[in-house]
Amino acid sequence: MTATLPPDTTASTGWTTVCRYDQLQPERGVAALVDGQQIAVFRLFDGTLHAVGHRDPVSGAHVIARGLVGTRGDAPTVASPMYKQVFDLRTGVCLDAPDDPALRLPVHPVRLRDDWVEIGAGAVAP
């Protein structure tokens, strides 16, 4: 497997380059390993990027990036492939149990710089 390694990973800026934008298929996630953390990265149909925790809080397995992407109402969503809970990709909230903080996915900053997808350090505070 020949993935082009990303260019400089600049810890000083707090952003880690994980892949080229065109490596992401619309509506199909990938997992990225950032500082030992597993992060699920999604490119949506409209081209926007989202990054949430790869760990499924229900099963404890690291599988969120492999879930089906879709919408619920206006919310872009991913459904866990394990037990099918649906999460809002913008907030990480589990739409099947919005009041349960234990079922919330951490949301990570993600940005496009030139043609590269970068993940920001730390999770966005919910």
């Binding site: 497997m1 509506e27 390993l33 597993q38 397995a61 089906l68 879709g70 459904a79």
Partner: protein
């Protein structure tokens, strides 16, 4: 305050009516916890079963298929079922019953539900070997065994001739028995004393139509004939039936091998007689409208009760009596409202229905009759003297109007009565939607149109299944189901409920409708489909459905282009996700046949990749613990050894299970393995609404458990019997017979059509059993479609399957050959070969398994290194 000791209820008899009594008591919370302690003393060695469906036991059903209701009823605390118990005495003074085993059961309330015994006319020779009655599973089993024995002896003899049987009695029970004998391949005669068949249910015209229809099925009817005596042959078994003098058509005798007495029943009222309870003039324990006997502590229900001066030989009034007693035992005041003696039956495949005042005995009654001797149909409606109100009717040959007509008895029919009799106007009838709330729709369980509407309006039932569970409508004989379904649909529509058929928030149509949309429009992508016929960007419900539909309509690779985004992870990576996020891999092993080299290859792959191996229920081998990034390497090894994807991950054909068949087995009559392999290779990769499993057994011993499959094939001496609609799982079902003695070519064509028709019309995640139940017209309809091309689509179905077979490719191999697809198997986009660092395993019984949370904590605390995990030794590509 102490709880009062529970009161003791003893039920003598373990039939359908006893079952209903206990069910009603439990349902109303009347058992245990200060209520009743129930003891049911059943003479038969089994739990109550569906005696009405006894004949179906001949078409290959198990006794278990006749089970009534939820078997957990008998595990209810406070309910005790004692089987094989003969009650010998009721001591009313001491309030105890005594059994043949010397036990005593004290009671506060006693219910006699002893039912009836077959009536055997007192003719000479009635006890000869080869003479049977027709009442219990044991009777039926004994009859079957005897016929099989005679048949085997015949086949081995120098003058083979078919087994011949006579049924004494041409009523309802007699025709049931004749059906059973015919199903066993017996040349059957029916001897009826009255001048026509079913004299209690149908009139002369109906009887004639019935006799013609039954005769066309090879059953010879001798009406107006009395049996004088039976004589034995040299072997001491029954050999000849002698007709009484003056019998119609001058019949003197019949040479027979087996005789079944089905000339009516007599109430089992001997216990009541012995304890001096009053009995009716023609038998039966006399009860008042509350079903209570002269003794206030003793009740009688079902066929043994004599109520209104007569006994009641149908299950519906029996059920009503059971409900009444349950109500009375709980302090209610229910009384017998009179019974509906309507019947609708399929005897020997012939529809017969009789309802209300079938004989037109009401003063001034008029009859409208429609007869078509060519089509074998006779229909009669009995109307009031002004020809407006329906009083009753008889339907022979086509009883489809029954469900709509019966609830209208006593009501104005509206419009031209003849419209109900003509073939077009029949189904459901014009007036079903306006049926008054108090009209009884299900007479077996006494459910009115109003209760069905309430179930939808008030109890939130949104489909037929829920309404059946809630009201019990249609759960006994099922003849009212078309009407129940219609009422439910109408009521749902009235309530504005449309959710039931909408797939999800993105599509307002059902899977079957969406299938048609895609087929007609030729749309090939999800984006275009959701754009034009839906909204939003889909979800985990509609996306896999669309993927499956697209896969059914053209045979592109499941990971082509946008389609890859529609697939659930299992379909996406072509393996089955497990609880830790790794996958299991199942190579196809068609028919469960595998060479030693194949087994060794699989073993080597498992060993080299550190996979846990287990034999599956579908006769293949599952390899667990494969990390996503290793799947291509594993497939490469398997494909090199000649294996391909087993589609264990897909809503598609799984396996065709087989027994070893005639090539090795001394009992096998056909080569089941060869057929199973051929079928598995034909249908591999076929995408469907749910998984599909097949089975092929090489003889009637059924070692492949084919009847637990969606499509089951069982070898016969003459070919193959085809069963459909079976499954295991949460709600196990036995497959039902679709066709008999097919040659291999016809069999394959029939399965082709069945599968394509299912794929096209079933709902999402609907397996074949519920599909067959839901589809309009049920199994008969599907049989007509696939065997007689009733919809004119057979050529289309055949072409669809031919396309599938032609277009099949192994998805694993296709993926390995495409670097673009392989990219998807990277564990991390920025570290494609790094394993998931959270995985860890322990060894158990010599194989790895995921560690538990407790084991991880303990392992980390002790600083121990868990086996395998990311350090698992792997084969490197």
């Amino acid at each position: 305050m102490s709880t009062p000791a529970p009161r003791q209820l003893v039920v003598v008899g373990g039939g359908m009516v006893a079952h209903r009594l206990v069910e009603a008591l439990v349902d109303r919370g009347g058992v245990a916890d200060g209520g009743w302690q129930v003891t049911v003393l059943a003479e038969e060695p089994r739990a109550p079963y569906d005696r009405v469906a006894l004949t179906s036991y001949f078409s290959g059903r198990d006794p278990q298929d006749l089970a009534l209701g939820d078997p957990a009823l008998w595990d209810t605390p406070g309910v005790q079922l004692r089987r094989g118990v003969q009650v010998t005495e009721v001591d009313r003074a001491a309030r105890v019953v005594r059994t043949a085993g010397g036990r005593e059961h004290g009671y506060d309330a006693l219910v006699l539900a002893t039912g009836s015994a077959p009536f055997v006319p007192p003719v000479e020779g009635k006890d000869l070997p080869g003479c049977f009655v027709y009442r219990t599973i044991d009777d039926v089993a004994a009859l079957r065994q005897y016929v099989t024995e005679v048949d085997t002896r015949r086949k081995d003899s120098t003058h083979p001739r078919p087994v011949t049987g006579a049924v004494v009695g041409g009523g309802l029970l007699g025709l049931e028995a004749a059906g059973a004998l015919t199903a066993l391949g017996v040349q059957t005669h029916v001897v009826e004393f009255a001048p026509r068949l079913m004299p209690l249910q149908v009139d002369e015209g109906g009887g004639e139509a019935l006799q013609r229809l039954v005769g066309a099925l090879g059953v010879q009817v001798h009406a107006g004939t009395a049996t004088a005596k039976l004589t034995a042959g040299r072997d001491g078994r029954v050999a000849r039936m002698h007709a009484a003098e003056g019998s119609a058509a001058g019949l003197t005798h019949l040479d027979v091998d087996v005789v079944v007495f089905a000339a009516g029943v007599r109430p089992r009222d001997e216990l009541a007689r012995a304890c001096e309870l009053p009995v009716g003039p023609r038998g039966g324990v006399v009860v008042d409208p509350t079903c209570r006997t002269e003794d206030p502590a003793v009740w009688a229900i079902g066929e043994v009760a004599c109520l209104d001066g007569r006994t009641w030989g149908l299950v519906a009034p029996g059920y009503t009596m059971a409900e009444i007693v349950a109500d009375q035992l709980l302090g209610g005041a229910a009384e017998f409202p009179g019974a509906d003696l309507s019947t609708k039956l399929k005897l020997l495949g012939v529809d017969v229905a009789s309802f209300g005042d079938a004989f037109g005995t009401s003063p001034g009654a008029l009859s409208v009759v429609y007869g078509d001797p060519v089509a074998g149909v006779y229909k009669k409606l009995v109307l009031s003297d002004d020809a407006r109100t329906l009083l009753g009717g008889i339907l022979v040959g086509d009883a489809s109007a029954y469900a709509g007509l019966r609830p209208l008895v006593g009501r104005e029919l509206g419009g031209d009565p003849a419209a109900w009799l003509l073939p077009e106007g029949a189904e459901g009838g014009p007036a079903s939607a306006e049926l008054p709330d108090d009209a009884a729709v299900c007479s077996c369980n006494n459910v009115t149109a109003g209760s069905i509407r309430d179930a939808v309006r008030c109890d939130g039932c949104t489909d037929l299944g829920a309404v059946k569970a809630c009201t019990k409508a249609g759960t006994s004989c099922g003849s009212c189901l078309p009407l129940v379904k219609k009422l439910v649909t109408t009521e749902l529509a009235a309530a504005g409920v449309s959710v039931s058929s909408a797939l999800c928030e993105h599509f307002d149509v059902s899977r079957a409708q969406l299938f048609d949309v895609v087929r007609v429009t030729g749309i090939t992508s999800f984006s275009e489909l959701v754009d034009r016929h839906g909204r939003g960007r889909g979800c985990d419900i509609c996306k896999p459905v669309v993927a499956s539909i697209l896969a059914s309509l053209d045979s592109g690779h499941v990971l082509d282009g946008e389609r890859a985004t529609l697939q659930d992870t299992n379909d996406h990576v072509m393996a089955n996700i497990q609880k830790d996020g790794t996958y299991s891999v199942v190579p196809r092993i068609p028919g469960g046949e595998v060479t030693p080299e194949g087994l060794i290859a699989i073993g080597e792959v498992a060993r080299d990749f550190g996979l846990y191996t287990k034999i599956t229920g579908g006769q293949r081998i599952d390899l667990f613990g494969a990390r996503m990034e290793l799947l291509p390497a594993i497939w490469e090894r398997l494909v090199a050894a000649g294996f391909e994807s087993g589609h264990a991950y897909g809503k598609s054909l799984r396996t065709v299970k087989s027994c070893v068949g005639s090539t090795w087995c001394r009992y096998g009559v056909q080569d089941s393995v060869a057929l199973a392999i051929a079928l598995e290779l034909r249908y591999r990769g076929l995408r469907s609404p749910h998984k599909i499993k097949l089975g092929v057994s090489g003889c009637a011993r059924e070692c492949a458990e084919a009847r637990g499959k969606d499509v089951g094939v069982i070898a016969t001496d003459n070919g193959w019997n085809l069963y459909v609609g079976g499954n295991g799982g949460f709600t196990p079902r036995h497959a039902k017979l679709l066709a008999e003695d097919l040659d291999t070519e016809t069999l394959v064509r029939t399965i082709d059509r069945f599968l394509v028709y299912y794929v096209r019309t079933a709902d999402r995640l609907q397996r074949t059993a519920p599909w067959l139940e839901e589809i309009e017209g049920g199994l008969d309809h599907v049989r007509a479609v696939v065997l007689d091309d009733s919809l004119g689509i057979a050529a289309d179905l055949d072409a669809a399957m031919a396309d599938h077979v032609e277009g099949y490719t192994d998805e694993w191999r296709a993926t390995l050959e495409d670097p673009e697809k392989l990219r998807r198997f990277a564990s991390f986009v920025n570290a494609p070969d790094s394993p998931d660092p959270s995985l860890s395993y322990v060894v158990e019984r010599g194989q790895p398994r995921p560690s538990t949370a407790a084991e991880r904590t303990a392992g980390e605390a002790a600083g121990a290194v868990l086996v395998a995990g990311p350090r698992l030794e792997v084969f490197s590509r």
